[in-house]
Amino acid sequence: MAEIVIKGVAKRFGGFTALHQVDLTIADQEFMVLLGASGCGKTTLLRIVAGLESPSQGEVWIGGRRVDHLPPRDRGIAMVFQNYAVFPHLTVFENIAFGLRMKKLPQVDVERRVNRTAELMHIEQLLKRYSGQLSGGQRQRVAVARALAMEPDVILMDEPLSNLDALLRLEMRAELKGVLAASKTTTIYVTHDQVEAMSLADRIAVMHQGRIIQAASPVEVYRNPAARFVGSFIGNPPMNFLPAVKAANGSWSVAGLTLPGPKSDRQAIEFAIRPEDVEAGEAGLPATVRVIEPLGPHTLVTCDVEGGLFRAVLDSNVAVTAGDRLRLAPKPDRIRWFDPETTHAI
């Protein structure tokens, strides 16, 4: 059992605040992904959980034990680093065995555990080699095997796939997910890659400027962004935003279209819709087509709606050419509204 509780953790480097009062609870055996652009504080938060960085304030609990004053070795964690950090002066076998030898396990157990994790990561034929004789993908496998061999309660991963090439990343992603699910550990995984986050996570914590904006399941984060930032950061292409002005009877006027919307005291709010949630039809948002990108299964159409950029993913059967005037009808249940001042969802 290793639930991780982060309570009011803040981190300041001199005058710069990397983390503002972050609260997050990660359930036992959950796969939590910290997602955000570089500099959002996600790696700092991970390093605070690992004990490589100490929080300026707040508490970290792992498995019901307060750990923020403990060194990394006493926290029951294992970590995988972005640049692998495979010890160059030791063989693959000794790398994987390193932590087990520190625990002073008998040689039989060390060998059994090293062989088992090496088999799991498909590197059993590399055990006698040194790090310099391995490819990037193989080094990453060694790093993961070294963490798994510790049989930790918690595995922390800092962008473990970002140094691999695209094809290898795809392959490792699926493999990691299977291995970590089988190992029954609690995982915190840091990445800036939203596809990686969506495909791996039980829950995603989207971070921005030292704060967690939303922590929810991948589908929830995608469908119901809690703030404008989440909608604009997640999704490729990202969400479309248009200004909405208050009309009669609690409805809102968006680019000439009148839509039923939420109650708000404000005169102007923001309308948002995912590119794939519009359909070309008779009625809808008036759009002038600028660029057409056929992507096979569907067509990405970049348009002008009331002078603003608007992207729509249309069925590839819809015949459009640049300069066409379209009517794009948003699916009513997929429309989201944001407060322009707080940027929160309404």
């Binding site: 070795r73 932590g99 520190m102 922390l156």
Partner: protein, 282 residues
Amino acid sequence: MSAVAEAPVAAATADARKAGDWLLVATAILLCIWVLLPIYLLIVNALSSPQEVTAFPKRFFPSFDVGSLAFFINFAGVARALWNSVLVATLTMVLSIGFGAPAGYALSRFDFPGKETFRFLVLMTRAFPLPLLALPLAVMFIRTGLDDTALGLALVHTTLALPFAVLITFSLFSGIPVELEEAAWTLGCTRLQAFRKVILPLALPGIAASAVFAFTISWNEVFAAAVLTIENRTLTAFLLQSLGESPLYLKFAGGAALVVPALIFIFAVRKYLFAMWGIANR
């Protein structure tokens, strides 16, 4: 039209580049001669018989007559001076690495106020002229009883070698990714264990090189050695004192005995000395 105009320009730049290449090669050859010729003459004469040293014309290859070297080694006081040199140089080496390596590690791994100033000051100690220090040091050493001892001289040599030890080990430790250490911490190591099991094995060749360099600095140093020792002369101080009146062939033998070990040491550790200045040469 433009092609016609461009051709002479291209030819001119090619000429200029060629001339530049020649200049570079010529300078390199000149510098090599500047350094290598005295060493060559020293070794040739040291390995020649006394008659050949004064003879003319010289032979290009020495006759490998070890007579003058053998005479030099058996010269009264040389063995003692040699032992003193080794003792002082070894002490210097131990002290320089003992103090320098931790300082280099601290510089590479920790951020502390005044870090840049500290690095600068480390380098500045080399700008302090030794003759200025020698007299007050001699007085102080006599008062404390450190005069004419190997330890006293080693302390002075350590102040000369320490800046290099700090800077070489600093670049050495900076070249080892901090993640390796952090990985060791997460795998159950204390700071000290991580240093011993991960950092030290990786840094050891460089530390050894830095130690050899400190040894060489002490081995070659003559001024402090001449001022601060009387009975327990090191080889350099002994040669300075006694070879002035010796015949030419003995001077060559003494010079070779001094230069050759230093040359071999420096050659062995050259890549780490380049690393100190941030030139990757691996």
